[in-house]
Structures are given as C-alpha cells and as structure tokens.
Subunit: 256 residues, 2 copies
Amino acid sequence: MSGIRPENIEPCETSDSCLAEKLSALAPVDSRQAGLLAALEEERCEIGPGEVLYPAGEPTEKLYVLKKGWLVSELHDGSGNRSIVRVHHPGDIVGDSQIPYTVTPYRAVARSEAIVCPFPRENLVEVFKRSPRLSALLLTVAMIESAEQEDRARVFRRNSAMAKLALFAQQTFGRLKLMNNLLHDRFHCPLTQTDIGDVVGMTSVHVSRTFTKLEKEGALKRHSPFIQIVDEEKLSVHSSYLNRYNELDLSWLPEA
Amino acid sequence: MSGIRPENIEPCETSDSCLAEKLSALAPVDSRQAGLLAALEEERCEIGPGEVLYPAGEPTEKLYVLKKGWLVSELHDGSGNRSIVRVHHPGDIVGDSQIPYTVTPYRAVARSEAIVCPFPRENLVEVFKRSPRLSALLLTVAMIESAEQEDRARVFRRNSAMAKLALFAQQTFGRLKLMNNLLHDRFHCPLTQTDIGDVVGMTSVHVSRTFTKLEKEGALKRHSPFIQIVDEEKLSVHSSYLNRYNELDLSWLPEA
DNA sequence: CGACGTTTTGATTTGGATCAACGCCCGTGG
DNA sequence: CCACGGGCGTTGATCCAAATCAAAACGTCG
C-alpha cells in the first residue's frame, strides 16, 4: 500500500464544520451561516470500533455531528433480534430522527475509529432563529434522506437478495462520495456481513452467497474490507437505484 | 346507520388550515403562525377515488396539503410492478419528500373523495423567513415521519406477514387518530387488499390469508371497508409498534 | 501456536409467491 | 327485474428463494 488512497481520506476531519461542508455540497452557504453550524461542533470526542456512543433508552437531548468514521443505530427487540436502523457516515447528524422524543430506543455504536461532535438539541434553535436558509437546508437534507429511506423500504421489503445488496452498495457509495469526491469506484466498508444482513434484512449466510453471485456477474468486487463498484448498470438492473443527491433543484431556498 | 360515526367525520375539511391543525396537535401555534400556514392552503380542489393528482415525471414545484381523504404515492418500475411508497392522510403535505428534486418519480392517486390545497414550493420560504418555530415544527414532523418510516422499513424487510399487517393497521390508526380524536377503535380504509399488499410488500392473496389469521387470533376485525383494532396487545406482539406521536418532547422548540 | 470472529459451503426446511379457480358484491343495461 | 360482467376477496395446490442448521475454512491477533 503506497501513497494515500482516497478511500482513506476523511475530508471532514480537518475542516471547521463537517455539517457546513455537507450542506454546502448541496447549496451555497456563506461564512456567517457556516459559523452558525460550526458552533454546533465545538465539542468533539473520539470513539473506537465497537464502542457505544449512547445506549438504548438514553434521553435525546444530545445530538452528534459525525465528523469521521461509521456508526450504526441499532434496535434490539424483545426476542433477541438486532436490526440496524440506519448507517451513519461523515456529515450526518446522529440521532436526528429522534429529535422529537424524550428517549431513543436505538443504540448507537461505532463501527470504525470515529470522531463525533456532541451538541444539545437546543442549539438548533439558534440556527432556526438566525437563518431561514439553513432551516430550509436542514429540511432539505431530511427530505433527501427520507427519499433514500423510501427507496430502501421499497426494495428491501419486496425485492430479491441481489436487489437488496446492490442498493446497499450503491446508496452507501453515493453517500460517501458526496463528502469525499476523490472516491473513484471503491470504498472501505467496516461492516461485517452480519451487520449488512441486519441492514438489508437477510441472514449473513445469504449475504455471503449473494455477494459471490454479484461478483460472478461482474457487478461488484470485494477485497477484504473494501467494496468496489464494477458495473453500475448491472447493479441498477437489480436495484433501480436513483442517486438522491443528483437532480436537485434548490433554487427555491431562501436567500443567504 | 343512524347518526354520525366518528370515522366519517373529517375535521380538517372545515377548519381554516389543516396543516395548522396538525402542527398544533403537537405544540401550540399562535394565530399569526396559523395565518402563515393558512396562506399555503388558499387554493383548493377536489378529486375522486382513482383520479390522478399528478403523474410520475411531474415537476415538483407544487405541493399539496391534504385536507380530506386518502391518497397514495406509487411508483411503477420498469417491469410492471407497482409499489405504494406512502399513504397520505389529512394534514399531510403530499409531495414533501420530493421537495429537493426537479421532478418526482411518484404518481399520486386519490383513493377516496379527497380535497387538496395546492401551493407552490416557494411559499414555504415565507414560513422559514417569518417563523423559526414553524420551521422547527416542520422539521419535527419530518422527523416523526422518518421515525415511522424506520419502523416500517425494519418490520417490512424482515418480519412475518402477521407483523407487517399488524404494523400497517396500528400505524394507520395512530396517524388518523392524531387528526380525529373521536376515532375509537375502527377506521375506514379505502385501500383494496392489493393496495395494502403493495404498501407492506406482499401479495394480495397473502394479505387476505393473513388478515383472516389475525382475525381468528382476535387481534382485529374487518367489516367491509372498515378495520377495527380489537386487541392492541396482540397486534403489538407481532409488530412491536411504537406510537410515534406519543412521548414527544418539544420543549426545545423556538418560542412563538 | 491456538482461539475467536468472520466468511464460506452444503443440506434441509419453510413462509410466502405464484397460478388458478371460485364466490361475492355491485353497477349496468337489456 | 334479472342477466351479465368486472373488480375484489377467498381458498386450494404447487413452487421457489431465503431461512435455518451445521460444519468447515479462513484470518487475525494475543
């Protein structure tokens, strides 16, 4: 391994505000607005793979901007099954879907070396008060994620195992690429096949079999913790993937 | 059929702003704010069951506040399959998840006599500019729906047919009850079993069989277009349903 | 090296899909 | 008023994709 490979660069780590970076990947954000967002990320802490950011049942007053690494939000039901509700990548606000509630049923666990910036939910109030544009952008991001969620729900509930894994690979790659445009065709995936199974709703056994199938088809390749997108077309035949970060129209947003 | 049954009352129909009504079911909204929301609903139009509100591929510059009735957002993929992405009830903003995009891949179809209030996406800008509180409330609603979506994704992708239908019934009832607290234990469901199958990801044949199973269990009952929740407990054993409109903590919202 | 976690491979089982037929209800038109 | 037809729901028989159970191969780290 000589030289720095783009999949190992975490652009967020060094920049002032990871959130500002994500939002400005969508629409221009001026320095005053970036400042408002950076104020959310003043505190920072590091956690390693396997470490629990917060346990299930935790009060939701804190949110976490993810600066580096992967986290998962998982739910353990009564009968000992685990389900991975969401996979978090740099730029995400971990815990955002639990903003309206007093406690969260989800547990957040790091899946790689990660840096998060905790901030109290109340800090968002400043953003809403000071910047209509950022308010609208936050809603926009929520809607983009909602659209992706709809895609997952649609594919995961009905389609074949091939479709599920194809969508997983494509969505993950698309999201990572937003924050790291140096990524070419491969990304580091710190999830085990059991994890992936709990994301898409199938057993690890079948994840393994299906990955090999996709590999034989020439749709993607695996080298240990990396996944390489080989043939977008072939994957899309299964998943009918839409990149929800493309074809955006944000011209209607309030001015800066 | 003597007298007015609560499941036939549509409280939204008469009120000034259906959206204000929904938001104020969550947190207090003053009259100025209600006015801002009412401005979104000035225009109104009626459509009947089966009528298409907008076809797939339509530009997304318009949004629709649903005042009365049910609509579905459906997606037809290349191979002739239909998937119902979302079911809309009074108070919803139809098309909201497509706000960031130029066109929507979804088609919106009425499933009952319905009244919608179209407004241009740009009108939201006024709300963002004038009211931090409403901005935050809109995000809150988005997050509540996101949480419900997570629940569906989790149950629909893995669990049994019983779990799927149980969750469908409970979520639907919970949502309807928010806007119509006269509802006791039954609701009018204008969807066919084929529709329901396309919502939860199973065939109409299996929807039929599974409903009869749930009925035998004493969990719910069907009388033609009505569904009656008989035993919440029994349903929850299958679905592990959480009412996402309960246990809210909105104390952090910006003041009015 | 041994041990544990992960991935792979094989054999068997199963829940839901699929295919097909039938009954029911309701609206339409003769 | 009844005959017909079409949409919807039910029921039965068969099939298949993925789950489950089990064991072996692989990798990595103490």
